[in-house]
Structure formats: structure tokens, C-alpha cells
Symmetry: C3
Subunit: 407 residues, 3 copies
């Protein structure tokens, strides 16, 4: 097992390096807990929109969150040891490692349901170091302002995930799998996930801020952007769909677009109206992406993006980065900062797409067996379901029996 | 679309007025987040007790929360500008605006499932300014003590909602819709909503308190009242129902009645036994309301109260207001304060019933088309459900096709 | 009704004793709220893994949480009054009472689904005073270090519950009930419960610590142990099950084993590697328990442990206690502390098993009628389910009608 070895190795390395940080009170602990709820519960439920793949979505999300956090902690420790000696572990290190894990959780949304746990762990193994390097380059070297991770997390994770998807699935067009259709019940759970993410998003943006004015601004800007997103999503979805109805998928994603976009300028002193406008605009962009761009990319580029991460993370991320360039130019620092913001966006975009495609090529290695097509989007692929005969339609048992040995 | 224009107008007004508040640290931020969880997740799930209307209940609750908060923020800003110049936005303003939104979320419980989104937004549009005026009159002018919003929020919202229901549905008695019956699964989700509200209720009551003794008292009083409510509800429900069984609806509502009632005297130094007694009594009143009063009102007044808001918010609210009059009289201030408490209750009750009936009359305008009766309590009325044939019994497709144009 | 009288008695006693504590700011309030979420929502959902018993599991958990907390508060107050005069109630008292309630919630997991509410309340009535005495003996008298309750809560509660189960069900072997099999949907809800517990576990361990270094260490140690548990559980489950699949039950329990084990040494300055190793080891022990020990105990001792509390609380608890003896010996205090840790474990184990068997014998009293076997694991035993004909397979109505009088 690939991941068995990983766990052992992680433990070994931790034994060599890491001890605890001494001073500092956990004043960010409440924010940290909020972020943990977002990642473990909120994001997990949002990914559980597939009616027969809910357990797998929750479990894979949970596994990747933990594996990636530990892996990022270890890499941080290695780098720190090399430069400054032993790392003293503190809550802020764990938080930084969780941000690395977020990129993995976002990226794998593009290939949800068609990948094995080993493949997912390989994505995490590849993506975390690239993220750490990219974040160092963009924030520390270029001085890009991005407190909420619009560029370093959302744009990076999105194009990394699309790169993986493209390289993994190649040019073959997959027809929509009948098990991909959400039911009202799975849509309801996913909406609960969205609401959980929506509620705690201000904590996600505020946690890396210095306490004080910047943090306060970050909270209010994010609140307003998210609130505008929610209202705009309902209005826009009812206009985009026939008969004035809403699409559950629109609601699940569009309500969060404002949080993605505001991250790059949350701590900048912009007006409330600007936050609201950015929130509205980003959810509009997100919904238009779902309605027009995703089908187009699937048809032209055979690009598989199952959760629509391009619409929730890519497009609003680019919009937010552009807004941060404009806002910085006007607000505080001359053209220079605006250029750096654009440069940061370009680095995140290009670097992630390239490295994502490389990671996707690694996933095609024969030792990382992908799940067989008839078992995609099925919990029974990953879980021992008791009494399958009782739960109707829990997978074609004959097929499964035949395929079990291959898995 | 009515609400499209509203969004545009809100944004425009925000651009004219509101800027951010400068000093003040967000020390109430953890309480604020707790309240956000209550309103977006807890209340949404509680309203999802209808098995086929869960998505709509969650989504409408979310839409109204955001629209009402923005609308209340704007009205606060307008009033502040008129009197003191530009408003500087802070977290306490957002919190005050959310309290206005709570009244809308409670009120629409009376007409859940039989109203269109446009009608719901109209309720929010009407109720928020009336609430702000009523709250100003009761708290600022009359000096009523009501830290947890027993009178200003719960009693007000309840009778506003009943007024809307009465004026909207008139004297016609509607037979119980077959889709109104909860299933064990939808009852389970609603109970999770109740538990979420129950857990965070102390934050709701403590947030408006000054930090220190009053806040500490508010937390402990609310904890005890809620705890007594929970135990009493189980006991009383098993005595009211045949065979010693519990009613899920009793549990979902009665457990929260103590939180409603304690609000008006949470920060008053009463004994723990008084908190427990008030919690017990209020859940008893709530359950008796469900068992006897709701059927009576439906028969005599043809009053439609789908979520039983009269039992959860009206009766315990009146009980709490009465208790606050007695407690204040004995505890700290002579008869005067007791009279003001009663006066405040009368203002909230009368004002809300009257304005609610006016708002209900507005809802009968032909431009706000109500949903056709066969599609009531159906998610397919508001949502594009994919692959409806697969989810058994998801609505009579023939009826729907015929009715789609009318919606 | 037994519990009707209990409620009245509780209220009466509270009136005699308890008033509020004066000074002290609620700085532990955020941690307290996290723990409330764990107990009311997280644990409730985790117990809802039975597809037809979800409402009952949530409701019984909620009832026991409140009843036990009030009962523990009262006993604390009685003891305090006897020794120091009137108790002034503060949030830390409520927290201590909730820890007593946790033991009840854990213990009843062994007899979930085969017990009536009256029996469960009797368990709470017996267990709370024994816990308080045991906790006083172990922590105050023996000076055992156990900030996270590994010994005083988890080990105690586990063997108390097993004692109850053994004495209640005797030597008869019950065949696995067909309604005991979880479905993917109920497993999903239970996994959400696990994730909720997992996220907030650090607050549970940190709440009793003094703020400062010890608290910070407790948070980080718990985070690392839980993270290692999560990864190890997935790896170990896929190795234990055929075909590399995961067992939902393993994931639901194993992910939390690290939190149980780390409690006894969370505030001790151990290395991060030690936390990770303890977390890994404890989840391994938990899974091996599920795979081999539970079937063995059921066959040899006819021991009924429905939720597997021995695997989640017993084995990792003993492991954690052993680790705390070793760590204390090496780290800070000579052999003496190590001996006390072992002595504390022995006291918790022996005392709980003995008192649990006594409590189980009380449960066999004829006045506490157990539910009839065909209605076990059925919500319709405890709840009035509306329109049962509509929800397919909601229990054999003929049997129920015949049995209703007996219940």
C-alpha cells in the first residue's frame, strides 16, 4: 500500500524534527475550530451531493484533510530545520498546514467519483509541496496581498485540479453517468454543507489577519460579500433556469462565490458597497460559468470538472484578483502593487496548471489502479455495505463480484 | 421581478451611505458566529420537517436571512444618516440587523409551504421597518428590559406572522395537505435543527448583553431554562400522547420554549430555580398549545399556523414577558418597571397583529402570484429537480406541466 | 412515572440550594459551546447509525444529557452546601456536571435500542453519583493526572456500561436483530456525527486546563493524536476488510480513538511524535477490538455491546492510561506518579464494573418494563409516527397494535 508507507514515513520524520512552540496563547483557537468545521463537516457535506457516493465523499475528504495537513507540517518543519534549526510547533503552523490541505480538497473536486483513494493520496503528495513553494513565491517574494487565499489557494487549487483532470482523463469524452444525478435528499445535505461553509467563511478569511482593524475589516467585508452572493444567486438562478425555478447546484456554489473573490482584498479599506458589488458579481460569474462555460469546456476540451470547481474557485478567484489589483491601485499603493497582484495571479495560474498536469500524468501509473467505470460514483466501491440486498439499487452485485478482485 | 429590483436598489443605497466603523474589536465575533449557525443552519433544518419541502425551506430561510439583514442595515443607515450623519458599519450593526431578520424568519413559519418567494420577500420588506420602529419604541422609549428579545422579537414576530396568515388565507379552511405529514427522516433532520438552536441559544441571549456579570447571568439562566425545557418536554409529551410515546413535533419545539421565555429576564439576578421553573412552564405551555389551542384556532378562526409559531414563540413569549414583570417588580425596581414590561408586551402584540394583517393584505395583490394548491409543500415548485422520474412520487408530472406556465 | 417525580424533585432541590456564582468571566464559554455541540449534536448523530432508531437515539441522548447534568449539578450543590455552605453556580460547575453526563451518554451505548426511557433514566440516576465519587477519589485523593478524562470518564463509563449490559441481559445470547444493520444513509449521518466530535474534541480536552501553556499543549497534542487516528483508521480498516474496502463503523469510531487515549497526558510536555504514535496505536487497538474482541466477548461472555463502546472508550482508555504512566515516569515526576496513574485506572475499572452490574440489576425491576423484543431498534416504539402506512416498512403494525398496551 502506498499510503501505509506514507503514514509510517510521516511518523518517522515527525520523531526526528518537530517539537512544540513555547510561548503564544491560542487566541486564534476559536477561528481555528471554525475552519476545522468548514473543512471536515461543511466541505464534506457539500461534496456529498452524489446520492450514492456520500460516504465516500465525506471519508475521502476527511482522509485527505488529515494526510495533507500532516504532510504540509512535515515539509514546513523540514524547511525550517534547514534554515533556522528545530521547528517549535504552534497552532499557527497547523493553520498554515491546513491551508495547504484546502488546496488538495478543492482540487480533487474535479475528479470526484472516478478516482481511487491511492490516486487521491498521490494528488495530495504532489500538490502540497508545489502549493508551499507557490505560496512562498507569491506572498513572500512578490509581496502579493492575499489574506483570504483568493490567488494562492482558490485559483491555484482550481487550475491544479483541472490540470490533473485533463492529464488523467485525456481527450476521451465521458457520457454523464446515471449515478451522477443528485436527488432532492442529497441536494439537501449538500446545501447544509454550503450553509456551514457560508457561516464560517469570515473566520477563514480573518484567521491569518493580524488582530485589530485589518481583522475587523476582513470579517465585515467577507460578511457583506457572502450576503450579496446569497441574494444574487437566488435571483440569477431563477432567471437562468426555465420557469423561474432554482437549480440546487447553483445555490450550493453561487452562495459561496463572494467568499472566494473577497479574499484578496478583504483587509483593504474598501467601502461596503464595493464588497457587496464584488459578492454579487462573483456569484453571477459563477452561475454563468455553470450554465455556459462548463458545457463548452466539456464539449471542446473534453474537460471533466465534476464539482464545477472552475466556476466556484477559478472564475471568482480571477475576478477577486483583478479587483484586488484595481482596489490596491486606487486605494493604497500606486500601480506597483497592482502589477504584483497580476503577476501573482499569473504565477498561480500557470504554475498550478503545469504542475497539475504533471501530477495527473503520475496518476495514470498502472500501480494506482483507477476504479472500474461501472463502479464509479458508488459507495460500494470503497465501503463494505452491510445487507446490500436490503438497500434497493445499491449496485449491480454481479458486476461487483466480478470486479472485486480487480480492485 | 420584484426582488431583482430590490437587490439593485439595496446596492445603490449602500453605495450612497454606509462606510465602516473604525475602532472596536470584534469581541462578540464568536457569539455572532454562533448566531449565524443558528439562523442559517439550525432554523433552516428545523423548517425542513416537511419531507418534500426541505430544499425550499432551507433556501427560503437563507434568502430571507440575507435579504432582511441587508434591508435592516440599510434602514439603520438611513436613520442614522438623517440624525447623526454617515453610519460607520460595525459588527454590532450587523448583529442588530440580524435580529430584525430573525423576526421575518419566525413570521414566515406561519405560512410555510403555501407562499411564493416573491410573497416571502414582500413580508420581509414590510416587517423589517415595522420591527425597527417597534423595537425603538419598546426598548428605547419605554425602557423595557428585553435582552433576549422575548417581547421585541418573539412575540412581535409571532403575531405579525399570524396576522399575515389570517389576512392572506382569509376565512377558508384548508384541509391538511397529505404532503404536510413529516416522515421519520425529515423529523430527524428537523430535530438536528432543534439541537443546533438549543446549543447556541445562550449565545443569542448573551450577545446583546454588556460583557461581565449581566452576560454571565444571561448565559447561565438561559442554559438552565433550556435544560428544564428539554426534560419537561419529554415528560409532558409522553403524558399528552397515547401510549406514552413522544411526538417529534413536541420535541422539536418544546425544547426551545425555555429559551424564548427566559429572554426578557435573562440578565436579571433571579435564582437558578426560577430559571428552571420558567423553562419547565414555558415548554408545558408550548405543548398544551400544540395539543389544544392550534386545533381550536384552526376550527374557530380558520387560522393557518403551519409551523406552530404561536406555540413556540407566542405563548412562551407572553409567559416570559409576564415573568419579567413579576421578577422586576420583586427584584430590582418597584412597580414601575413591571408596568413598562406589560406596556411593551401590549405594544408588541397589538402593533404586530395590525401591521401583519396589513402586510397579509398586500400579499393578496395579483402580481404576487401564490403557488397553485396542488404544488404546495413541493420542492419541485421552486427547484429544478433532475431526473424526477427516478425519485419516486416527486409530484404529479402532468399537473405540473399544466401548471408550469402559471408559475 | 419515575421521571416525572425526578423532575419535580430536581426543581425542589434547586429551589433550596443553588444561587449564582458572582465573579469570574466566562472565558471558557466558547469551549463550553463546542462541548455542547459535541454532546447534543455530534454524539446524537453518531448514535443515529441505526436506520430506524435515529429519532430515538437523538432524543434519548438529549434527554439523558439534560437530566444527568441537572442531577450532577444538584449533587455537587448538596455536597458543597454540606461542606462549605451555599453553592454559587458558575459555568465551571455546569461544565463539571456535563462531564458527569458524558459518562452516562457513553455507558448507555452498550444497551442502545433494547432499553426504555425509564431504564435509561435509572442508569443516569445510578451512574452520576458513582462517577462523582470515583472522580473525587481518583483526581482529588490519588492525584491522578487526567485532564481529558481518559480514566475518569472514558474507562469508567465504558466498564459501567458493560456492567449494566451484562447484568441486564444475563447469559442469554441475542441473535443480531435484522433492524440493527445500518444503511448507507444512516451511516452517512453517523459519520457526520463523528466528524463533529472529531472537530471539537480539542475543546473537550482543553476546557478543564488552566489557560496558558498547559492548555496550548492539550490542544496541539489532541489535534495531532486525532489526525493520526484518522489516517491510521482508513489504512487499518482497508487492511482488515476484504477487498481493501472500508467499514463505515471503523471510520466512525476509530477516528476518535486518539482523542480518548490522549486525554490522560494531553497537558504533559510530550513530543508531537509521541502524540501521533499514541493516536495511531489507539485507533489500531480500536479496530482490532471491533474485528476480533467484540465477537469473542459476545460468544464467550454473551456480552452485548451494541455501539462498541469497549472498542472506542475501553481499550483506547486503558492504552492512554498506560501511556500516561510511562510518560509521567519519564517526563516529570519519578515512579510515584506512574503508580498513581495505574492505581487510578484500577479504581476506575473495578469500581465502574461493580457499580454498573448493580445498576444493571436494578434495571431488571419489573416496574421498569423493557421494550418487547420485536419493537427493539424501532422509532415507533418511542415516537408517534404520523401516517405510518406511507413510510414503507415502518414496523409490523399488527404486532405493534397487540403490544401497545404492554408498553
Amino acid at each position: 500500500r502506498v499510503f501505509k508507507a506514507s503514514v509510517g514515513a510521516l511518523l518517522l520524520f515527525f520523531a526526528l524534527f518537530v517539537t512544540y512552540d513555547e510561548p503564544s496563547l491560542p487566541s486564534i483557537f476559536p477561528l481555528f475550530q471554525d475552519i476545522q468545521v468548514m473543512l471536515a463537516v461543511g466541505l464534506g457535506l457539500l461534496l456529498a451531493f452524489l446520492p450514492r457516493y456520500g460516504l465516500s465523499a465525506l471519508a475521502h475528504n476527511f482522509l485527505l484533510l488529515n494526510f495533507s495537513t500532516q504532510w504540509a507540517l512535515l515539509l514546513q518543519g523540514l524547511r525550517h530545520r534547514y534554515r533556522h534549526g528545530e521547528l517549535r510547533l504552534g497552532l499557527h503552523n497547523v493553520l498554515a498546514a491546513e491551508f495547504a490541505a484546502v488546496t488538495v480538497l478543492i482540487s480533487v473536486g474535479a475528479v470526484l467519483g472516478r478516482t481511487s483513494p491511492c490516486q487521491l493520496l498521490t494528488v495530495a503528495f504532489c500538490e502540497v509541496p508545489v502549493y508551499l513553494a507557490s505560496e512562498w513565491l507569491i506572498v513572500t517574494q512578490l509581496g502579493v496581498r492575499d489574506v483570504g487565499g483568493t490567488i494562492t489557494i482558490h485559483v491555484f487549487a482550481c487550475y491544479f485540479g483541472l490540470g490533473v483532470s485533463k492529464a488523467l482523463f485525456g481527450t476521451q469524452r465521458r457520457p454523464a453517468h446515471p449515478k451522477e444525478t443528485p436527488t432532492p435528499r442529497s441536494d439537501l445535505l449538500a446545501l447544509v454543507g454550503t450553509l456551514t461553509l457560508w457561516v464560517f467563511w469570515p473566520s477563514f478569511v480573518a484567521a491569518p489577519c493580524r488582530p485589530g482593524d485589518a481583522q475587523r475589516r476582513a470579517i465585515l467585508n467577507t460578511l457583506l460579500a457572502l450576503s450579496a452572493s446569497a441574494v444574487t444567486t437566488v435571483v440569477a438562478s431563477s432567471l437562468l433556469e426555465s420557469g423561474g425555478k432554482l437549480s440546487p447546484g447553483h445555490l450550493q456554489n453561487g452562495s459561496l462565490a463572494g467568499g472566494v473573490a473577497i479574499g484578496a482584498l478583504a483587509d483593504v479599506p474598501i467601502t461596503p458597497a464595493a464588497s457587496l458589488a464584488l459578492g454579487s458579481l462573483s456569484s453571477l460569474v459563477c452561475l454563468l460559468g455553470f450554465r455556459f462555460l462548463t458545457p463548452l469546456l466539456a464539449r471542446r476540451l473534453a474537460l471533466h470538472d465534476h464539482c464545477g470547481i472552475h466556476n466556484l474557485h477559478g472564475l471568482p478567484g480571477i475576478l477577486g484578483a483583478a479587483a484586488s489589483a484595481v482596489a490596491d491601485q486606487g486605494g493604497c499603493g500606486g500601480c506597483r502593487q497592482a502589477l504584483w497582484q497580476v503577476a501573482g495571479l499569473a504565477v498561480a495560474l500557470g504554475g498550478s496548471l503545469l504542475s497539475g498536469m504533471l501530477a495527473g500524468a503520475v496518476l495514470r501509473l498502472p500501480c494506482l489502479a483507477p476504479p472500474p467505470e461501472p463502479l464509479c460514483f458508488e459507495d460500494s466501491l470503497n465501503f463494505r455495505i452491510q445487507g446490500q440486498a436490503e438497500s434497493p439499487g445499491m449496485g449491480d452485485t454481479t458486476e461487483e463480484v466480478a470486479l472485486k478482485e480487480r480492485v
